[in-house]
């Protein structure tokens, strides 16, 4: 627990220091991400060796205090947060001057990391509300770093995110009104002892979180916001920020929904997940802009998360929990790589349309390779992390066989993702009239973009440990 605490506090401290000492902001935050990566690793090690731990902040009794829970799942998510942040920070540091990234990026991203880590550790409904707000405001501020062109998108993102927070808060108020608990495990006990009609609370919370996590049909703000942001920010948003509310949805539905409500909820998640896969994939295929395509791909990929969540509720099979979180990890890594590489190519090739990438396999082979490798995981090619997640989703589904209609949906989603990835790759391999880079591409950012893509393929090699950690 000590390591986890340090992994939350270190970025927070770094953010405050970076605001005071602005000249060294970049280096400070970069160092803090590296150290917090080590701390998160240590926290994971601690959980695996000594078992889960929990902490009452302030040492007060359960209910009065906010509770943090460190188990394999939260430790993994903590590690994911620290890893993506350190990758993105290294990338931003390596091409800071060229990209014209404002110095404000550093404290904001450190705050984001701290908020997200705190969210993954916490099991308190109201503390989640505050971290969610922190997350939302930090995300909007980060989107604004690209200046004028991001204004509209940021404004819509902010307004919708505020509305969603209010829905969530109303749900929490209703739950507290019913049961008088904010601590999720305690609330789960209270609900199972004395079930009353808490449907509306749950739906308010669910809808709010679905909007925050950009799950279909509440995803409309996402493509513009993620596409308008600077590349490192898009990577953070797509890889991490949407995962926070998804994690909360999982916690709330797996613990607070009674058996009957869980079935209704599962239908919601199955249907919206299917729609997300198809509609998101289709939009990604049709858009002429590279970053919008990657953003729509996030919408589509989150469909897998929804499907896993829905199936977990429907069939109560722990395999789907594993699928959900392996998917979360794999998508985070793959999307980081895609956004960083696409951003780097946009910067050097000078255009945001897909057609800018013509011949990129010649002009920027490393970055293009990163996109292709990460795309392989998004499609779910073996033996990538995306494949493991999909495998973990399909295998039990195949055995249960009453939800057979999901198989063609998943197939369609896979084909669509293959189509939009290949659309980009084919353009890049078109050597007839390659778009020349405006200035010489630097190698280091491209390698840093490639790194998460390679990591996501490594994920398959560690799938045994992942499955055993997530299955427990």
């Amino acid at each position: 627990m000590n390591f986890a605490l340090a992994a939350v506090l270190l970025p927070l401290l770094a953010a405050v220091l970076a605001l005071c000492w602005r000249r060294q902001a970049a280096r400070l935050v970069w160092l803090s991400t590296l150290f917090s990566l080590l701390l998160a690793l240590a926290a994971l090690w601690q959980v695996v060796t000594f078992g889960p731990a929990s902490m009452q902040l302030g040492g007060w009794q359960t209910g009065l205090a906010i509770r943090w829970q460190l188990n394999e799942l939260s430790a993994l998510l903590l590690l994911m947060t620290a890893l993506i942040h350190s990758l993105v920070a290294s990338y931003s540091l390596s091409q800071w001057r060229d990209a014209g990234l404002s110095a404000d990026f550093w404290p904001l991203s450190a705050l984001l990391q701290s908020a997200l880590s705190s969210l993954f550790l916490s099991v308190d409904l109201f503390n989640w509300y505050v971290t969610l707000e922190l997350l939302g405001l930090a995300a909007v501020a980060l989107v604004l770093l690209s200046g004028k062109k991001a204004l509209q998108a940021a404004m819509r993102y902010l307004l919708l995110s505020l509305a969603a927070s209010l829905c969530y808060l109303l749900g929490v108020a209703l739950l507290y009104g019913h049961y008088g608990w904010l601590d999720v495990p305690q609330l789960a006990v209270a609900i199972s002892e004395e079930p009353v009609d808490h449907r509306l609370a749950l739906w308010l919370i669910t809808a709010g979180l679905m909007l925050k996590a950009a799950l279909w049909p509440l995803h409309v703000w996402l493509p513009a916001a993620h596409a308008a942001a600077p590349a490192p920010v898009s990577a953070l948003l797509s890889a991490l920020v949407v995962k926070g509310p998804l994690f909360m949805l999982y916690m709330i539905w797996s613990q607070l929904a009674g058996p009957e409500l869980a079935v209704t909820g599962s239908w919601l998640f199955l249907l919206t997940g299917s729609m997300a896969l198809v509609v998101g994939g289709w939009s990604a295929l049709r858009t002429p802009y590279a970053k919008v395509m990657v953003a729509y791909s996030t919408v589509a990929q989150l469909g897998y998360g929804l499907l896993a969540l829905g199936l977990m509720l429907h069939l109560t099979d722990p395999a789907f929990t594993q699928a959900l979180f392996i998917f979360v990890l794999a998508h985070a890594l793959a999307k980081t790589s895609t956004f960083l590489a696409v951003g780097e190519m946009q910067l050097r090739l000078g255009g945001k349309r897909l057609s800018t990438f013509r011949g990129a396999s010649q002009t920027m082979p490393l970055a293009m390779f990163a996109v292709a490798v990460a795309g392989g995981s998004l499609i779910g090619l073996p033996p990538s992390g995306g494949f493991v997640a999909k495998w973990q989703l399909l295998l039990p589904l195949w055995q249960h066989s009453q939800l057979w209609w999901l198989l063609p949906v998943i197939l369609a989603g896979t084909l669509l993702s293959a189509a939009y990835i290949f659309r980009l790759v084919v353009l890049a391999f078109n050597r007839a009239k390659p778009v020349r880079p405006d200035f010489a591409p630097a190698l280091l950012p491209q390698w840093l973009a490639l790194l998460p893509a390679l990591l996501v393929w490594m994920l398959a090699f560690a799938s045994g440990s992942l499955l055993s950690w997530l299955g427990g």
Binding site: F126, V140, A163, L166, A173
Partner: protein
């Protein structure tokens, strides 16, 4: 009908009005005001729920206070954003 029920119903009405304002707008500023109305409704629910016991539930009051500050921060940010957006589009 008790005091608590009456104010809870008022809060429900406020929430609906706020939602309508959020959907209808049409100005961005009015949407922000509508969001604040929705927030006021939520806080009213919490305060009213706190008033069910005697003395009133201080824990809920503290939560409302936190919520208020969060709401005013977000409003300030949103207002600045809207002002800039409008001046760009004008």
């Amino acid at each position: 009908m008790s005091l608590v029920h009456w104010y809870l119903l008022i809060a429900a009405g406020l929430w609906g009005i706020g939602c309508y304002g959020l959907i209808r707008g049409p100005e961005l500023l009015r949407r922000i005001i509508a969001l604040n109305l929705m927030g006021a409704a939520v806080f009213l629910v919490m305060v009213t729920l706190a008033a069910r016991t005697d003395p009133a539930d201080g824990v809920l009051h503290a939560l409302v206070l936190t919520g208020l500050v969060v709401a005013v921060s977000a409003t300030a940010f949103a207002l600045a954003l809207v002002a800039r957006t409008l001046s760009e589009s004008a």
